[in-house]
């Protein structure tokens, strides 16, 4: 248990620092690289929670596909590599107040609702996160949502092609 806690805190501190880097960096490419750190940290947290399949899907889709899409977006919009103006608008103070207030409220709610609750790691937790178990759950219990999500993905990709096409 101690090893998992130490691993959690190392990952959590790295993720929190990198998340602040994503919203504070004045260089767009650096922000994308900080995002990679956050996403990889989340994948490692999933492994800590014995959700191995979700962790590898996270690595493949988030780090492998979505970050690459972001880098293409940065390239195609010719985002300035070195800051000439600020990347932030004039609402920074208000935004910080809103997000800190929300963080306080959510944290108070969680401490009130789940204070002292523990996640117990055991072998059946590993069995739950196995890909065969997840696959049978998706194709047995969640077949209709799965089909809906696949139609959504198809529609979104066709829509993206239609929007971005030069006429």
């Amino acid at each position: 248990m101690v090893a998992q806690n130490v691993a959690f805190w190392i990952l959590a501190i790295a993720m929190a620092g990198a998340a602040i880097g994503v919203v504070r960096s004045q260089n767009v490419v650096h922000a994308a690289l900080y995002l990679v750190v956050v996403l990889a940290g989340a994948a490692a947290q999933f492994i800590l929670l014995a959700a191995e399949f979700v962790a590898w899907v996270q690595v493949l889709i988030y780090i492998g596909a979505i970050v690459i899409l972001f880098l293409f977006g940065i390239m195609l919009t010719r985002a300035p590599m070195r800051p000439e103006g600020s990347m932030d608008n004039s609402q920074r103070l208000a935004a910080a107040v809103v997000s800190l207030f929300l963080f306080g409220v959510i944290t108070a709610l969680f401490v009130d609702a789940y204070g002292g609750k523990e996640i117990k790691l055991s072998d059946d937790l590993v069995l739950i996160g196995r890909s065969s178990n997840i696959a049978s759950s998706i194709f047995r219990d969640y077949l209709v949502p799965f089909e809906v999500v696949s139609m959504l993905l198809l529609a979104a990709l066709v829509g993206a092609v239609v929007i971005a096409r030069r006429d």
């Binding site: 919203v23 979700v54 889709i61 996640i119 937790l125």
Partner: protein
């Protein structure tokens, strides 16, 4: 491991994402902040899945990853269209719909 550790970490990531959405000017950076928020929800779902020893949380985390991919595809297409029409991705300049 305390359940609250994971929940508060995800709350922190979500609030950082909200700050980014509100305070950033570049459209690509706003999309990255949205990714932070979606990822925070993923951590929440998997933590609850481990807490309740139920697989449903992980299945919905997979659905959420799919929807995040669709969202980034559409979002970047819209950003590209804005760039092509006005040669900037500065969101403060995209105010054509303002009355």
């Amino acid at each position: 491991m305390a359940l609250n550790n994971f929940l508060i970490l995800s709350a922190f990531l979500f609030c950082t994402g909200i700050y980014g959405v509100l305070a950033r000017k570049n459209a690509v950076l706003v999309l990255m902040s949205i990714e932070l928020m979606l990822n925070a929800v993923n951590i929440n779902l998997v933590a609850y899945s481990a807490f309740h020893k139920a697989v449903a949380g992980q299945v919905f985390a997979l659905f959420l990853i799919t929807i995040a991919a669709a969202e980034v595809g559409i979002g970047l297409a819209i950003v590209l269209l804005i760039y092509r029409n006005s040669h900037t991705v500065d969101l403060d300049d995209a105010d054509q719909l303002k009355g």
